[in-house]
Symmetry: C2
Subunit: 184 residues, 2 copies
Amino acid sequence: MRYHRSDVVDRAIAVLDEYGLESLSMRRLAAELGVQPSALYHHVPNKQTLLAAVADEILTRGKRPHRAREWDRRVVEVCAELRDAMLAYRDGAEVVVTAHTFGLGAAEPANQLRAALRDGGLPDDLVDVGTRALLHLVFGHTVEEQMALQAASAGAIDRAPGGPADFERGLELVLDGLRSKVGG
Amino acid sequence: MRYHRSDVVDRAIAVLDEYGLESLSMRRLAAELGVQPSALYHHVPNKQTLLAAVADEILTRGKRPHRAREWDRRVVEVCAELRDAMLAYRDGAEVVVTAHTFGLGAAEPANQLRAALRDGGLPDDLVDVGTRALLHLVFGHTVEEQMALQAASAGAIDRAPGGPADFERGLELVLDGLRSKVGG
DNA sequence: ACCTGAACACCGTTCAAGT
DNA sequence: ACCTGAACACCGTTCAAGT
């Protein structure tokens, strides 16, 4: 059987979702595809690049249309889409955040947020600061939430995991700050 | 030579700072101490626990007195202390954030932030939401900043790394949101 | 109590050789 | 172009045995 890069990425996501990030090794993935580990390096230069591709694919699969017209409602939509996309696969948040940290892929959400803040009439420097703040909030919240969800499903007794309500309230804090500057 | 747990942690920080997190293996650390890898397991149950201890020690070393009296100024002080503590060692932010993510140690900053927000007269649920938002902001910003600093010092040309100015402006966004709720 | 020596079950990556 | 087979240089962790 002959594979393409997209087959490798798809299978990587399947392994990630079923067994978790710590089990997603190049050797394990190769075995899953019925191929020698060295064969993977024909489709992907290294594991880091593969994980970046996995992150991008997770975000692509989570894409949805944005209907909001006001810039601040669109920010909430983009952030919610990002959160839902990461939560859709086991350890998805960890993978996306790591890719973003290393500057590999996962750039789409940042671009959408920047565009929304610019539409809001914010000055360039505040667009930058705001975009980063929103992204860090969504990433931090979602990694924590997914951690708690997975711990709970593994039987560990845990307090309520934050959830979508706390998520939006954290967002509103930053949006309040931004809105107070848009008219200033 | 006989070692104690604190010797192991101290040496781990030295290795971290000099060679980076990816070089901080149990085997490498053992070699650095002139001991067999298995000897480390008399002082520490596993690597995860060691890294949590490293995170806590990094935060302890970065401790400083807080002089601000207003709650919002104290928030800024706590956040700046946290950021500086993590930046003081190579990959320090990554280590502290990972420990916090896995719920191992790194709990002090959260407690200090909670106390400050409570002093501000915020209701309990907003104290929770605000603490998490501030923590995620500081963590996200500092990991990104440290990444950029290390990339720059490794010769990669990079745009200005955010720095303390952007850091405080992101913070102010959330503080604006919180302040608008304290009188409401 | 603390350490050694040896082993177990893995990693990511490279590279000559095959088809 | 894509894959195999074998190797290189590592991992974290366990455990009997020593002092």
